[in-house]
């Protein structure tokens, strides 16, 4: 069900991004704040992360002084050696709810360029363990893991959504949500 919701949401976002905004040349929206976090998820057997394996992550996202900001590091310990995802840029950052943010960007997978990622993080309070959420999707390979794909909330770590401030100005062509 969560996978279905994610896919429907993804389709809607794609349609929206090439629809009114693209056709009319109007601005797109970005969440004007920051989110940061680190931790690990544990595969439940229904995602690309094998059952019982850890997926370690470190993540940041936001808009800062007219540019997207953030990073992504992810290691899937269900494979030997661990599959490694290293974010190389952030290309979108927006709110999907009051507590959840999506960070999109480009990345390397096992050292190879040419991939793009979508990450959703949800700050649902303190402590983050067994509460906050992390999900990751690699568009080109279909790799998917985390909350939206049945792996549950993070089993360690924390997601922190930071209140926006004067530095949270969006890139040219984007407006604050």
């Amino acid at each position: 069900m969560r996978t279905f919701v994610w896919m429907v949401t993804s389709l809607l976002m794609v349609l929206l991004s090439v629809g009114p905004a693209g056709a009319w040349g109007t601005s797109q929206e970005a969440a004007c704040d920051f989110v940061t976090g680190g931790g690990f998820i544990v595969g439940a057997g229904g995602s690309s992360l094998s059952g019982g394996s850890h997926g370690n992550f470190g993540v940041g996202g936001g808009v800062k002084n007219g540019a997207f900001w953030g990073h992504l590091e992810y290691n899937d310990h269900g494979t030997t050696p661990p599959m490694q995802i290293h974010g190389t840029s952030v290309t979108a950052y927006f709110a999907t709810s009051t507590t959840e943010r999506e960070i999109d960007g480009t990345c390397r997978v096992n050292g190879a360029d040419g991939f793009t990622y979508r990450v959703r993080v949800n700050d649902l309070g303190e402590p983050g363990i067994n509460r906050d959420q992390f999900s990751i999707l690699i568009n080109e390979t279909g790799y998917h893991a985390g909350y939206y794909f049945g792996d549950g909330p993070i089993r360690g770590g924390n997601i922190q959504l930071h209140k926006g401030n004067a530095s949270n100005t969006p890139p040219p062509g984007f407006t604050c949500q």
Partner: protein, 214 residues
């Protein structure tokens, strides 16, 4: 001709004003610090290596700094993955955090490993600094070590000590180290360190005594 004379009330006002002026430099100093986070800071035989360090975000700055690496290693000492460090500041607040997964460390004959480490520090102007850390899956020399969660938990190792959830909290800031390994005269290794505001100096840190170790 009347001469103005200062009464008791005048002396009190003067004393308060003097006290404020004396305190002002300290307050100004407190605002010169800021936010900083580091996944690893290791000093071995006087040589220091930092992995995924944000640098300092000055207090009172609207902005954010980050640093990260998919893996990180210091040869013959440690390795980990998903290194992440960030500090986010605004006019009246600083939040810093650092984390690292799958740590493996070998130091002075001791082996230390963790599943995950995270340190967080926060400072809001006018309020005491706050901090917290997370240490998951700690083993030392192959033996699982229970983590109490209390600040400054110490575990003796050969030649030194491991400090878990090391905290220096004060009225103007906080420093939190998730894991601090000290091998006397050889190495000082901090994994997952977060600073916000101006924490009290290390000399004023209240740490449990470590008889026989130093």
């Amino acid at each position: 001709m009347k001469r103005a004379r200062m009464g008791h009330r005048g002396w009190i006002v003067l004393a308060v004003a003097t006290a404020v002026l004396i305190a002002w430099p300290a307050l100004a100093d407190a605002q010169t610090a800021g936010g900083e986070a580091e996944a690893v800071r290791a000093t071995v035989l006087g040589s220091t290596t930092v992995l995924s360090g944000t640098g300092v975000l000055p207090a009172g700055t609207n902005g954010a700094l980050d640093a990260s690496s998919v893996t990180g290693a210091i040869p013959l000492l440690l390795a980990g993955d998903s290194l992440s460090a960030a500090t986010v500041g605004s006019i009246d607040r600083i939040d810093s955090e650092a984390s690292l997964g799958s740590l493996g460390m070998s130091i002075a004959g001791n082996t230390i490993s963790t599943d995950f480490l995270m340190a967080r520090a926060m400072e809001v102007t006018g309020a005491p600094g706050l901090g917290a850390s997370e240490v998951d899956g700690l083993t030392i020399n192959g033996v699982p070590v229970p983590v109490s969660g209390a600040p400054n938990q110490t575990v003796p190792i050969v030649g030194g000590v491991v400090i878990l959830n090391e905290q220096q909290l004060g009225s103007a800031g906080a420093l939190v180290n998730a894991l601090h390994v000290i091998v006397t005269g050889v190495a000082d290794v901090v994994v997952a360190s977060a600073t916000a505001g101006t924490p009290p100096s290390s000399s004023s840190t209240i740490l449990p005594p470590l008889p026989g170790l130093f």
